[in-house]
C-alpha cells in the first residue's frame, strides 16, 4: 500500500474529528478515547489505538475547551497517535513514546491552526456582512465548516506523511528498552491527568477527600485484581 493510499482514509477521519472539536457537532467523538480507537481500527488494531487514546485522554483532561481560551486540538492529534501506534507491531520498543510525541505535537499545531482559522473567518465575516442576508449568513457558516474540515484533514495528512516514515527510521535505531519507554510515557500521562483531576475538583467541598478515597480504592483494586 502506498503512503498516499494509507494516509487518505486517516486524513478523512482526521478531518471529521477535527470538525467535531468546535464546529460540528461537538459530540466529543474527537476525544482521544474515541478518536484514537477509530484510527487504530482503521489501521487494523483498535486495541492499540485505545491504548494510545487512554494516554492522550489523560493529557487532554488538563486542557478543557473553556470559552474563547486557546487549547490543543485533540481530534486530528488522536488520529495521528492512534494510527502511528496501531501501525507498529506489538512489542516494538519506543513506538508508544514516538506516537504520543507525534500526537502532542499535532495537538499543539492543531490548536494554532484553529486560531488562524478563526481569524480567517473573522476577515471573511467582515467582508461578507456588508449586505447581510440569510444567504450570506448560511454561506459564512458553510464556509467555516468546510474550511475547518479541510484544516483537520490537511493537518492529519501532513503529520502522518512526515511521521510514518520518520517513525520507521527512529524505531530502526531505537536503543531504549520497550518497558522503560512505556513506563516513562505512562508516568508523564498519569502525572498530567492526576494534576488535571485535582485542579478541576479540589475547590469543591469534600472533593479532595473523595479523590483520596478513590485513590485508596484504586490501590486496593490494583492489589486485588
Amino acid at each position: 500500500m502506498t503512503l498516499v493510499a494509507g494516509v487518505l482514509p486517516l486524513a478523512l477521519l482526521g478531518a471529521l474529528l477535527g470538525l467535531d472539536v468546535v464546529s460540528f457537532p461537538q459530540a466529543m467523538i474527537s476525544r482521544p478515547l474515541v478518536a484514537s480507537t477509530l484510527a487504530g481500527a482503521l489501521v487494523g488494531d483498535p486495541a492499540r489505538g485505545l491504548l494510545v487514546g487512554v494516554v492522550l485522554e489523560l493529557f487532554a483532561l488538563e486542557m478543557l475547551p473553556f470559552g474563547a481560551s486557546r487549547y490543543p486540538e485533540w481530534g486530528s492529534a488522536s488520529v495521528v497517535g492512534g494510527a502511528l501506534y496501531g501501525a507498529q507491531p506489538a512489542g516494538t520498543g519506543g513506538a508508544l513514546a514516538i506516537s504520543v510525541f507525534a500526537a502532542l505535537v499535532t495537538a499543539a499545531v492543531g490548536g494554532w491552526s484553529m486560531v488562524q482559522h478563526r481569524r480567517l473567518i473573522a476577515r471573511r465575516a467582515t467582508a461578507m456582512h456588508g449586505e447581510l442576508t440569510a444567504d450570506t449568513v448560511t454561506a459564512l457558516q458553510l464556509w467555516g465548516l468546510t474550511s475547518d474540515f479541510v484544516r483537520g484533514g490537511a493537518l492529519t495528512a501532513l503529520v502522518l506523511a512526515l511521521f510514518l516514515p520518520l517513525t520507521h527510521e527512529l524505531l530502526s535505531v531505537w536503543t531504549a528498552d520497550a518497558a522503560v519507554s512505556h513506563a516513562l510515557v505512562v508516568a508523564l500521562a498519569g502525572a498530567v491527568g492526576g494534576a488535571a483531576v485535582w485542579n478541576v475538583t479540589h475547590t469543591f467541598k469534600g472533593a479532595p477527600w473523595l479523590l483520596l478515597a478513590g485513590l485508596a480504592l484504586g490501590a486496593c483494586l490494583l492489589v486485588a485484581t
Binding site: V22, F24, A27, M28, R31, L33, T37, A41, A47, V54, V55, L58, F59, L61, E62, L64, F66, G67, A68, A97, F101, L104, A108, R118, R119, A125, H129, L132, A134, V137, T138, Q141, L142, W143, G144, L145, L170, A176, H182, A183, A187, A189, G190, V192, G193, G194, V197, W198, N199, V200, H202, F204, K205, G206, L210, L211, L215, G218, L221, L222
Partner: protein
Amino acid sequence: MTAPPRLPLRTRAAIFLRLFAVQGAWNYETMAGNGIAFAVEPALRLLPGGKGGEAYRSAMARQSGYFNSHPYLAGVAVGAIARAELSLEDPDRIDKFRAACCGPLGSVGDRLVWAGWLPACSLLALAAFGFGASPAGVALLFLGSYNAGHLALRLWGLRVGYRDGLRVAPALGAPLFRQGPAHMARAAALIGGVAIPLAIRGVIGPEHIRTPLGPLLSLPIVLAGSVLGAAALARLHGRAEGWRLAVVALALFILFSVVR
C-alpha cells in the same frame, strides 16, 4: 407585542439541527453571532412579510452580531430570541437580552459541562478501560454517557428558551445548574482516584507488573512517579502546562534513545 405562534415541528427540528453547528463560523470578532443567526433563521421566516421581508431582514441583521455562550446552552438564547422576534418585541429589549445572557450562558455551561460532565464521563470510560473493557465498550460507554447529557441539555435549552422568551433567566437558577457542578466534581474526584491507577496499569500491561524487568519499571514506581508529578504540576497550576512539559520530556527521551 403579539403572542408568538406555535412553532411547526419542521421549524423546531431545523433550529435544533442547526444548533449543532452554532460554532461553525466561530471567530474572534462576532464569536458565535453568525451561528445564532443561522440557528434562529428558520423561525424568522414566520415573521410578517416572510423570508426576505423587512422584519425578517432586520431580525437577521440583529442576530448576526456579537454573541457568545456555551454551545450546548446556545439553544436557550436561540429559543428566547425566536419567541421575542415572533412576538414583535421591542428590538432594544432583544439586544439587551442578547448582551445580558452571554455571560451566564457561558459560565454556567463551562462549569456544568467542560469542568463537570466531560471529565466525569472521560474518567468513567478510563475506569472501564482499567477494568478490562473492550475498545468498542470503552468508546461506546464514553459516547453514550456524555451524549445523553449533551443532547438532553440542548433539547432542554431550546424548549425552555422558547417557552419563557426574554424571561428565561430564572430557568438558569435550576438546582442542576446551581448544585450540579459541585456534585459532578465530587463524582469526578472519586472516579478519577479509582480510574487513573487502573488506567496506568492497563497501559503498562500485565507483563510489566507481576515480573518487572527492574526496580525502575515496577508498577508502584510508575504510580509513585505519577503522584509526585501530579503534585508538582498541581502546585504549578496556571504557570506551566503539563502536556507541554511532556512534549519536551518525550523529545529529549526520543533523542537519547536514538543517538545513544
